[in-house]
Amino acid sequence: MLEIKNLHASVEDKEILRGINLVVNPGEVHAIMGPNGSGKSTLASVIAGKEEFEVTQGSVSLDGEDLEDVAPEERAHKGVFLSFQYPVEIPGVSVTNFMKTAINESRKGRGLEDMPANEMLKLIREKSELLEIDRKFLSRSLNEGFSGGEKKRNEIFQMAMLAPKVAILDETDSGLDIDALRIVANGVNKLKSKDNAVIVITHYQRLLDYIVPDFVHVLHNGKIVKSGCKELAMELEEKGYDWIKQEAAV
């Protein structure tokens, strides 16, 4: 479904991704781990189409279509979703209005009519209950003054609303206490199906206890230096990244 081939990306002439290969099939959960600054968020942004990063070599394709010239919003319409490590605060736009706009613009992008208001309300109610989000929360300005945990929970709420094909969760677990982590993981698992895929970027095994990965990749210095199954994550939790770095240096 998602295929990344020899991906190189730079910002301001500084190469950050240096040849990434990754294939994600429907139904799979991939975890990407790796030290700070290794390029995890950059990879996520490049998949979502952030223009600040220049792809200098290689490609990202979705269902066989090269995404090179596809704008971020069109990628979203095709089913790419990024849960941001640092969700942006947008004062003056309520969560509800934002979500309505996002849903209807996505539908427009797919050639569909606006969602009828009652259906929209039902969907919002259903998904906010899934993520145990308070009603009052929905009328607040998007991410403005939200705690770290509230921001992350709101990201997954958006994911639930938009029902993407490929969801990338960039450190969604950071800032969450154990209860919130459980709610968020439960939300993600409920949305999982054999037709969609999730890429979880995390530092901790903790989240992977709930969202169990089929594959674990270690990113270091802009490259995937090791891939394995879920046991690799446990090993990393125990031993840290130094041994990987050493292995990679050899």
């Binding site: 942004s45 979502a48 189409g49 952030k50 223009e51 600040e52 704008a71 971020p72 919003e73 990628r75 979203a76 319409h77 790419v80 979703f81 990024l82 941001f84 969700p87 942006v88 947008i90 004062p91 003056g92 736009v93 509800t96 209005n97 934002f98 309505k100 706009t101 996002a102 849903i103 209807n104 613009e105 996505s106 992008g109 606006d114 300005s141 958006q158 938009l162």
Partner: protein, 456 residues
């Protein structure tokens, strides 16, 4: 010199194409005098005013206050000073320019002439009627003596030009403890009957102790013929009075407006002026507050959204004359294409005006490389125990926010609009007529060229 001028005046007729606008106005004053009561005391005020205008002429860019706004090209237009014939309009054709969702009193002018057909005035406990009556009928004489031209500047040239020709406009008198049943709309239509028309409405609004009024003002040209409006509004808010004044400036691309508003406030009163500048060719807003009392609040808010070659210049002045008062200014601007904006906010705090709280904020977004904004706070603070804050920002739209919205499927254009909408929209919080708020929201969405996916 004087004599030569007098001779010149006689030689020129209104249709002389070679005459400068200033000369034309001065010579027109004599024609104007044939149609007003020159024995009325108000006429002494007019005569004094035309002398001032004759001496000063139109302001030029050499003056600090007009550094960024040029009236040169407007002075080259051959404006008619008096409309030659009376025009009529059907309500259904101009309905959309009224806040027709609610009931309102209406004072409507067509090419500067009162339209009784489109208006709804009242004398039921309050006076919502015409300046021409107030300036001529004996029953208003006492009030005119006390208030007319008492807060308007006697030496600012455009104000004195308006004073010289003051004859028509809105007259609103709200006695003590009264509040009209509904808001008042003051609407000026220009029909394009003249190739180019200059209008000079003069409004007088007196709100007595503990009284209240809501006013919506709009200037609307209905054709692409040139219009220049030089308007003066005097507002007197007595003790504990509340005045909400909304200016909707969404005129055609060939209409220019110079708005001179002077407000005299007394203790515990509350005056709020909102200015929505979305249209017009050249707009200059001179908004002047004089705080003559304690414990009062003056609010000036504005949303400016411009494109093409539009120009808006906001000049505000708040003069804190006595202690314990507040002023709040919040102007937001969004400038696209080749548009230009000016914000100049002057705050004067007199030595005795201790415990003044004066806030001023002007935030701007430039969405085109060719758009410009000049923003300048001017603080003259002579008291030591005051809280004054001011800030101006000029920025572009935040690219991280843009990417965030786009990544959720919102196209770039709509994302831009949503961010601009959010940027401007908090100014609307203080609009106290819900239908007007909705209307302005819609105008903003329209001006930004989007149909946002939610109900405004």
């Amino acid at each position: 010199m004087r004599q030569a001028d007098a001779v010149n005046r006689e030689l020129f007729t209104e249709n002389d194409k070679n005459m400068s606008l200033k000369e034309k106005l001065i010579s027109s004053f004599m024609a104007f005098e044939n149609n007003v009561d020159v024995d009325h005391p108000v006429h002494d005020v007019r005569t004094e005013a035309i002398k001032n205008f004759e001496a000063k002429g139109f302001p030029t860019k050499k003056e600090e206050a007009w550094k960024y706004t040029s009236l040169n090209s407007l002075q080259k237009v051959d404006f008619s000073i008096f409309p030659k014939q009376q025009n009529a309009l059907e309500y259904k054709d101009v309905k959309k320019y009224f806040l027709h969702e609610i009931d309102s009193y209406k004072i409507v002018f067509i090419d500067g002439i009162y339209s009784s057909f489109l208006s709804e005035t009242t004398h039921d406990g309050v006076d919502i009627c015409l300046m021409s009556s107030a300036l001529t009928k004996p029953m208003y004489k006492q009030i005119i003596d006390v208030y007319f031209n008492k807060v308007a500047s006697k030496d600012e040239s455009l104000t004195t030009l308006n004073t010289a020709f003051s004859r028509e406009g809105a007259y609103i008198y709200i006695p003590k403890n009264k509040m009209p049943k509904k808001p008042v709309e003051i609407v000026h239509f220009a029909t394009g009957n003249e190739a180019a028309l200059m209008l000079q409405p003069r409004n007088l609004i007196i709100v007595e102790e503990n009284a209240e009024v809501q006013i919506i003002e709009r200037h609307q040209s209905l054709t692409s013929n040139e219009v220049l409006t030089n308007s003066v509004t005097e507002i007197f808010a007595a003790e504990s009075a509340i005045v909400d004044y909304y200016k909707i400036q969404n005129d055609n691309a060939t209409a220019s407006l110079i708005d001179n508003t002077y407000i005299n406030q007394k203790g515990k009163s509350n005056v709020n002026v909102h200015t929505f500048s979305f249209g017009g060719k050249l707009t200059r807003n001179n908004l002047n507050f004089f705080q003559n009392g304690e414990y009062m609040d003056s609010t000036m808010k504005g949303i400016t959204i411009l494109g093409e070659k539009q120009h808006v210049d906001h000049h505000t002045l708040v003069h804190h004359i006595e202690p314990n008062c507040e002023s709040h200014q919040d102007y937001k601007g969004i400038y696209g294409e080749n548009s230009t904006g000016v914000f100049n906010g002057k705050i004067i705090v007199d030595k005795i005006a201790q415990k003044t709280n004066a806030f001023q904020q002007n935030n701007n977004i430039l969405i085109s490389d060719k758009a410009t904004i000049n923003t300048k706070p001017q603080l003259e603070i002579f008291a030591d125990d005051v809280k004054c804050s001011h800030g101006c920002t000029i920025g572009q739209l935040d690219e991280d926010a843009m990417f965030y919205l786009q990544s959720r499927g919102i196209p770039r254009r709509e994302a831009q609009a949503l961010l601009m909408y959010a940027f401007a929209n908090n100014v609307l919080e203080s609009v106290r007529i819900p239908e007007l708020k909705t209307r302005i929201n819609k105008l903003i969405a329209k001006k930004l060229g989007v149909n946002l996916g939610f109900d405004l």
